[in-house]
């Protein structure tokens, strides 16, 4: 098990997350793909923390997990509010801010 193998897995997961955000239309699916990307970044953080034997990387991951929880709560609240308004979670249909 080498650091570069772990970074490869992390990069592959991040790429999948980006493709999901770009290619999918459901708002909740997009939120899940964002979680995927955050996790890929966390994996890279932990890998580098182990590589340099420093605990800072793990603390950054702790903060990222907290941020992800906040992001999920607010994002899902927005999805619920939009669903109440437009009866859909399709991001192509949600263009209230466009003129």
């Amino acid at each position: 098990m080498a650091p570069r193998a772990l970074l490869l897995v992390s990069a592959a997961l991040f790429t999948l997350g980006v493709l999901g955000v770009v290619l999918r239309r459901g708002a909740i699916t997009i939120l899940m793909c964002i979680e995927l990307m955050l996790n890929a970044a966390n994996l890279a953080f932990i890998t580098f923390a182990r590589q340099w034997n420093q605990a800072e990387g793990q603390i950054y991951v702790f903060f990222v997990i907290t941020l992800a929880a906040a992001e999920a709560a607010v994002g899902l609240a927005i999805v619920i509010a939009l669903f109440r308004l437009k009866e859909t979670t399709d991001v192509d249909e949600i263009h209230l801010l466009k003129w």
Binding site: M1, A2, P3, R4, A5, L7, L8, V9, A11, A12, L13, T15, L16, V18, L19, G20, V22, L23, R24, R25, G26, I28, T29, M32, C33, E35, L36, N39, N42, L43, I46, T47, A49, R50, Q51, N53, A55, E56, Q58, I59, V61, F62, I65, T66, L67, A68, A69, A70, E71, A72, A73, V74, L76, A77, I80, R84, T89, D90, V91, D92
Partner: protein, 163 residues
Amino acid sequence: MQLLAFFVLSLLALVSAIVVVTHRNPVVAALALAFNLVAIAGFYFLLDAQFIALLQVIVYAGAIMVLILFVIMLLNLKQELGGRPSGIVPRVLAPVLGLVFAAILGRAFLSLRGGFPARAPGYGTVEAVGREMYTRFFYPFEVVSLLLVAAMVGAVLLAKRRL
């Protein structure tokens, strides 16, 4: 043994991530995401970050996934929203981003040769992480608690019908 665990975990993580991105049914995608999060917690165990691995299982695979599944079932999203998004931006952006990240992937593979150094004593334990968090990272820690309060208030404000 460690190598075998690494291969099994990466296979699980990648396959479940592909299911998250491609599956039509959001409930299946959410369960695959929970699977993916547990596989990544396994990676953290392999990398001697026990505290963060447990946190990942409790907070991510527990709390956040329950929240997502709850909303999916609340909105009764069964089988909608397949296919590609309309518009020129995703159609151009997706291949470009794919190529850019493939390049980053190749760069990551070529750099950083060799294995991990020996583990420092006490690395990754609750004691080590907690000591660091409550001394050097004390103020960021407090700011994060403010962020959580803001998220809580924001979520209630957004989802409540009438205040």
